[in-house]
Symmetry: C2
Subunit: 231 residues, 2 copies
């Protein structure tokens, strides 16, 4: 699909960063909060580690395969919409010409002013379909290798994130003692992650760091309160 090359580049780099962010923000937050919550109810690191690693396995698989399916379904959606446009261009060219004209009219161009461009765009079915995909439907052609890469990136980032809060429980027998170390380590990790994430995604790094720390703290606080209330 013909687009200025810097758009494509921006898009691809953004997807890998987005997958790392998806996996790592949940991977740092949920196992941390679960471990903190359980420590509030049961002072036994073995139980916390068992639950924590079970959660990391479940979460990384669920999110990784979820990302795989999301990427696959993007690709299928694009293919099926493209097929529909190809059919419409072949079967109802008049209606499709009117749609191209209407697109330019929405930007204030008279039928007469847009006529030469409409004629040129609709002279080749491929160019015509490319134009409708991007302009009428706002869809970009997905990279076919994206699904598998996306799954591995998300799952790997989740595991890497999840091991940070769990490591202290692996080393320290008392869950209450480990909780303090885990909280300190994870809040620092969340801040660093949020800062780097802000840098890559174009938001202010310190505000982003504050946000990830806040989400982690809220999630852990809620998990701790609920576990305490039950146990």
């Amino acid at each position: 699909m013909p687009t200025p090359s810097h758009v494509e580049k921006h898009f691809t780099a953004g997807e890998v960063v987005r997958d790392i962010v998806i996996g790592m923000s949940d991977g740092l937050t949920v196992p941390f909060a679960l471990a903190a919550g359980l420590s509030g109810a049961i002072d036994n690191s073995a139980v916390v580690v068992t639950a924590g690693l079970a959660e990391v396995a479940a979460g990384s698989i669920a999110m990784g395969l979820g990302g795989y399916l999301a990427a696959r379904s993007d690709a299928e959606h694009y293919a099926s919409e493209r097929e529909r446009e190809v059919r419409e261009v072949a079967e109802k060219p008049g209606a499709e010409v009117a749609e191209v004209t209407a697109i330019f009219e929405a930007y204030g161009l008279s039928r007469e002013a847009s006529a030469p461009v409409v004629a040129a765009l609709t002279s080749s079915p491929k160019v015509w379909v490319d134009f409708m995909m991007r302009f009428e439907l706002g869809l970009e052609e997905p990279d076919p290798r994206r699904a598998g890469r996306s799954a591995l990136t998300i799952a790997g980032s989740y595991v890497a994130g999840g091991l940070v809060p769990l490591a202290p429980y692996l080393l320290i027998g008392s869950a209450r003692t480990a909780l303090g170390v885990s909280t300190g380590t994870t809040l620092v990790a969340l801040a660093v992650f949020g800062f780097v994430k802000g840098h890559f995604t174009g938001s202010r790094p310190w505000r982003s760091a504050l946000q990830t720390v806040l989400i982690g703290s809220l999630a852990a606080g809620a998990a701790f309160a609920i576990a305490r209330a039950i146990a």
Copy 2:
């Protein structure tokens, strides 16, 4: 921003469905897998319920606030890119006219053929910027109320999904017995959810049902194996 109205409609309905899918697919899967994993290691429903509800609290908050930030950062990204285009159109109109011409050239239109449309598009700064946002950058203007709605939809769907696998452990004291009931109930719920999801997202419903059941089973199997191996 002027776009054909059916595109906008499709987009908004898709976002709510997408938020429900995000929250519920993880909500059904991860607490189910965690509870199954813990049951393999510890035959005590109270521990499973404590860990499960702590996970639901942590997961719903982490995913809900994550969705909030994602929607907010989409809106900020749009605003900052729009500001940049407005500045470029005002400060470097020559370069921007060349960019519009290049967009049409990518579709095989000669400079002469596109000249009248380029002239019309670039005659009003607002229309010009609208066109660049959609066409050069492929960005749609996000709905400003989306962030809060997105957060509540994702978190609510996560909680609703998470209570399904945990309910049997609340009612049955032996975690091993509850595991069987929870597995049966959750696999049925995953199949129904996958079927409905397939219907809404345009993929084949039965295949979608099979996929969600498979992801849930894999995540639960991995969590069970890991918890067994440790305990």
